[in-house]
Amino acid sequence: MQDEEEQLSQALVRIFENVVLTEEKSLQAGYFKDLSIAEMHTLTAIGPYDARTMTKTAEDLGITTGTLTVAIDRLVKKGYVHRERDKKDKRIVRISLTHNGKLACRMNSKFHRVLAKHILAGYDDDDRKHILNLVDEVDKYVEQQLRRYDSSDNVRATASQVAKDTTKENKKDG
């Protein structure tokens, strides 16, 4: 049991690191060398279609609007993002992707789709469904953990709750 947990734990960390690393290397080797991974993720958060507000985009990326403003300044200069004030309410700033921004965003989505396609390629329909269900459960669990920290006013209280839960689990197992 301990070995399985260790194996899964190491695999999760490795998958996360290697996906990011592969994405970064594919960016450096490809058409969009002037973009960092963080910038590419900002483009993805804006998305290839409708203009979005700075507030909503910052919220989706889990960063402050101040941090996003700095990132957007750079992306506007590089020609990937278009920024304009709302015509009716000048306080609202809307951002959208330029033609090049859309291109980078779609190429990046393609990278992820190709990765997924290759991972699923060797399996039949039943196995694919099974894999997707498992991944979905892992995804939901990790997201749930993230929400616990997000929704808490006091991170320490949440950490302490996690510690208590873990102790309970260990007692149950032991």
């Binding site: 058409y31 290839p48 033609h99 859309k102 291109l103 779609r106 190429m107 989505s109 789709r113």
Partner: protein, 86 residues
């Protein structure tokens, strides 16, 4: 019926025009039965250049899931007509 045929011809010639600009090849060499994967010399960047140009021209969305179903120039014309008539 004649209107539909006119519309189809108009969309087809515009799609082929965009394609010929992206691929830098004469429009006359592009026929509607050509397949994206095998007959047309698109690399993935050019393919998205073309897709984004079509999206912007017709103010439509062509997500990857939809593009998976598009095999030929004719298929692309069908999709554009379907999405613009909504």
């Amino acid at each position: 019926m004649a209107d539909q045929e006119n519309l189809r011809e108009k969309v087809k010639s515009e799609v082929i025009r965009i394609m010929s600009e992206t691929l830098e090849m004469p429009a006359e060499e592009i026929t509607s039965d050509l397949e994206f994967n095998t007959d047309l010399p698109f690399d993935s960047l050019q393919l998205y250049e073309f897709v984004i140009d079509v999206e912007e021209t017709y103010n439509i969305r062509l997500p990857d899931e939809l593009l998976d179903e598009v095999k030929t120039v004719d298929d692309m014309v069908d999709v554009v007509i379907k999405l613009t008539s909504k």
